[in-house]
Amino acid sequence: MKTKQYLIIGNSAAAIGCVEGIRQLDKTGAVTIVSREAHHTYSRPLISYLLSGKTDRQRMRYRDADFYETYGVAPLLGRTALSLDPAQKTIALDDGQTLPYDKLLVATGSVPFVPPMEGLDLVSKKFTFLSLDDADALAAAVTADSRVLIVGAGLIGLKCAEGLSGQAGSLTVVDLAPQILPSVLDEGAAALVQAHIERQGVRFLLSISAARFENGAAHLTDGSTVPFDVLVLAVGVRPSVSLAREAGAAVGRGLITDEYMRTNLPGVYAAGDCTESFDITSGERKPLALLPNAYLQGETAGLHMAGGGKPFCTAMPMNAVGFWGLHIVSAGSYAGDAYIKCEGEHYRKLVCRDNLLQGFILIGDVLRAGIYTALIRDRVPIDTIDFELIKDKPGLIAFSRRDRQKKLGVKPA
């Protein structure tokens, strides 16, 4: 039998998930990874930890140094896929090579979204913050005196601020939204986290945006001016879909796939930040640019490419992040009846709708949050558990004796 050719474009969580999925079932097929970035697979969220010195290039590897060897992967790093020919089942690379495939995974990730802003081209020291190369370039530009202006108070902008904390002269974050972390937190939680970050010396300018830039200064919509030495653009990310779209792949808010991560092109799969997901808690199809989601999608694709696997249909927003020691975990969506408890820097919000837990935000005390996540993921009817008991402290004790025994592995008597 001819050796199956697996080709993966991308080298991050979805790509690695795909490799590990393929190898669960197919030990002999040829697997090739093509990546624009010339680095061993690394954990993208760790670039802020690299800035702050809490990790290093060795430890931020997403898999061991011998991963490609162990998994029988041929890595083509520093190579860009220029086009995809779904009829011939080939991709063309920037070095002139044409690579054939039987199964292709498009895991092209996302690209920073930079809205058109007047005068931005005049700014010499401007950076995005999504890749290891971005982090290296930013680190080289920032000195102890640098006034750093970050546009965007989302996860990327704030993790960048934390990474630069103590290494720059000043840190200012500006955002058009009235609150920080609008995609993760509600208003109350955002205010609490904002106050915590302000105590670390970061200045926020919210409900405001830059009307115009010149080199070294941002002129804001309220007429004020913020001088800066280094500008970081962290407005958001967009799925990187052009390669697949030009080949005829269906695109909504990201590449459209079925629950096995198949696109509409035969033999072509997509996973990770370049796709749109069906969020089980909101019923919406939208990009969920989150590492666990990317891995699970990639693994699902890999298993299916190798002839097996099962559908992935439990996607939802999920975030775990810390800022200067304050932990935040959240999942799901927040439309419904809310239970809220707020004490100091502890915040707890659980949202129920239609007899199901739909979402939660925990700040400070986040222990055992996964028990809540499982209630959402497994669509556990609230009236089948003692929900009151675990509103403040998640535990398996909320389940019936029978379910507890099932969970803890013991046959019911």
Binding site: R59, Y62, Y295, G370, R377, P394, K407, G409, V410, A413
Partner: protein, 150 residues
């Protein structure tokens, strides 16, 4: 693979499993020195309420969501044993968010820790099982061990 199973029928709620877990993973050979006047962070924890009690530790899932969700690659599964490389952990708490049993928790230094069945410490077999006075925690090879099913 051999796994830990717990029985709430036999659990006394004595919390000895928590103390032996903390001791086994302390690197010390003196239990009193290891645990006295310390807030312990055991990898097995007892849940209890109105006469019901049971211990919970990592289930070493066949489909480990913690491993698949880990953003750094610090968590891995080998031969069914799920371990964490604390050197690569950055305490982002994604595993805490992912684990359906709530069994991954911060260690003394804030990085995450979990039950590794005592296979990586000097005890070499699960201390919680060895020292449970009522055999409420067992270590067996079956998915539905008869001993705990009674």
């Amino acid at each position: 693979m051999k796994r830990i199973y717990v029985s709430e029928k036999w659990c006394l709620g004595c919390h000895l499993c928590e103390y032996y877990c903390a001791f086994a993973n302390s690197g010390s050979d003196d239990m009193a020195k290891a645990l006295m006047n310390r807030r312990i962070n055991p990898r097995i924890q007892v849940e209890e309420r109105s006469g019901i009690s049971f211990a919970v530790s990592c289930r070493h899932c066949e489909e480990p969501l913690c491993v698949k969700s880990c953003i750094t690659g610090a968590l891995s599964s080998e031969g069914g044993l799920i371990t964490i490389d604390k050197n690569r952990c950055v305490a982002c708490h994604t595993c805490v968010l992912a684990c359906p049993y709530g069994t991954i928790m911060p260690s003394d230094d804030g990085m995450m820790q979990k039950c590794e069945l005592c296979l990586k410490n000097a005890i070499g077999e699960p201390a919680c099982v060895k020292y449970c006075p009522n055999r409420a925690i067992i270590y067996e090879d079956s998915a539905a061990p008869a001993a705990a099913a009674q």
